[in-house]
Amino acid sequence: MSGVFAVYGKEIKLYFRSPIAYFVLAVFLLGTGYFFSYNLFVSGLATMRETFQNMGLLAVILLPVVSMRLFATEYSAGTYELLATLPLAPWQVVLGKYLGALTMLGLMALGTVLDLVPLYLFGAPETSTIFSGYLGFLLLGSACLAIGQLCSSLTENQIVAALVTVSILLGFWFVGHLQSFQTVQFLRELFLYVSFAWHFGEFIEGLARFESLALFVLFAAGALILNVCALEWRR
């Protein structure tokens, strides 16, 4: 695992030596903070439900900015030649980078914990639902980052990587709406089962179901395996 941690350490350094980490964290926390304050003080809703909903959509839009540089900039800057010739297996490179991106996701989630202070002061939120919401957010983010990292490994242009990732993630976020237009039962169920928004909604409601957990884990694992294959294929 030492190779994984070497790559992980490098990624963390790279995030915080560029404006990307600060930009993503600032936009995410300002966005979620605004919606949380609005719901609490204007709508009078002392719950995290709406905040989680907004966190999910913000993650779908912002996480591609976190993942876009993971491989694309290594290719364009020529540093991938170093990574590929160091005694590191492709899975170690993929996992090290992924853990770095997950750290960013963790920091984003951690920043919103501040919102819980007024919530517990002025209301009586269900702690289990909050835990379930955060679990759902982390799982959703993990799947989004893995897909973004895969897209980044397929191009030298990080903007292309970000745009393709956003398109895919928005597709999986809104695909559940398509079931309203379907009369075929199988397709209705399929659209619902692959809908990120639907599964994330289950977590927000406090329903941490195995099939929702499995879906996000499968998406993340599948994207990471394809990522390793993409690196092998590049040789």
Binding site: V7, G9, G78, T79, E81, L83, A89, R235
Partner: protein
Amino acid sequence: MSHPVELHSLTKTYGERTVVDRVSFHVGQGEIVGFLGPNGAGKTTTLRMIAGYLAPTSGQVTVAGHDVISSPTESAAAVGYAPERPALYESFDVLGYLHFVARAKRVRRADTASQLDRVVSACRLEAVARSEVYKLSKGYRQRLGLAQALLGQPEVLLLDEPTSGLDPGQISETREVIRSFGHDHSVLLSTHILPEVTLLCDRIAILHHGQLLAIDSPAGLATAVGRANRVELQVAACELSDLKERLFDVSGVIRVDVDDRQDPYTVNCAVDSSGNVEAAIARVVTSDWDLLGLRRHDPSLEDVFLHYVEGAA
């Protein structure tokens, strides 16, 4: 016993285009081999396959006894590779960058500081050790690329144009680093600079259109292209046909060219490299004419290189 680097019929194709064509050779322990060839000859592709960056289409590469394809991590651990364009993380400082490479090469924590000191000192990076990479001059970037390759005390060093972009002082220092490393390790370096190969390398591999045309010591290559040896004479004006006829009679003389535009004439004799032809030529000329000068020209590396490359074209 296997050599530190062995290539067996190594081939790389991109679609219909063959970039490296059935190349086979080895690099021995403590040997420095120079890779010589014009642009597009396949030098970088070959180095990249040995380093494990590219997979061969066919053939086999072993490094320190490990197959590059079936044991990529083990073979990579035995290689220090410095690409032509140094692969550097711009926002890192020099020590931070080297520290990352040391960790990735699994240098033990207890040894990291001493190894960093060693490569920083060997590559003369002390003055910029705390500088960010993006602030470095081209020369320092090149040397940082070499420093990362030296980390982990690899058995084999692969260097792609290691002195490109360096000033004369830096070139000399870099050659000294390579020479000292080459005493007990194996080095394969590609370069366009012919004197560099002569100064550094025990053997020279000439690559052209992806094919290995020759591999031998500089002296061996010169002998192999011996017909390029020539003897240049300065002879006082005389009857040319007689002079040419007598010179052709000398055993070992292959061709005679005379420049008779001014007195003394300049006579170039292409000679076989095997015997001492100069003495025989001198005897023949001095018997009937005034010999004002005689000089033997052994083929330079440039002659050797051109002989092979133009012969293959």
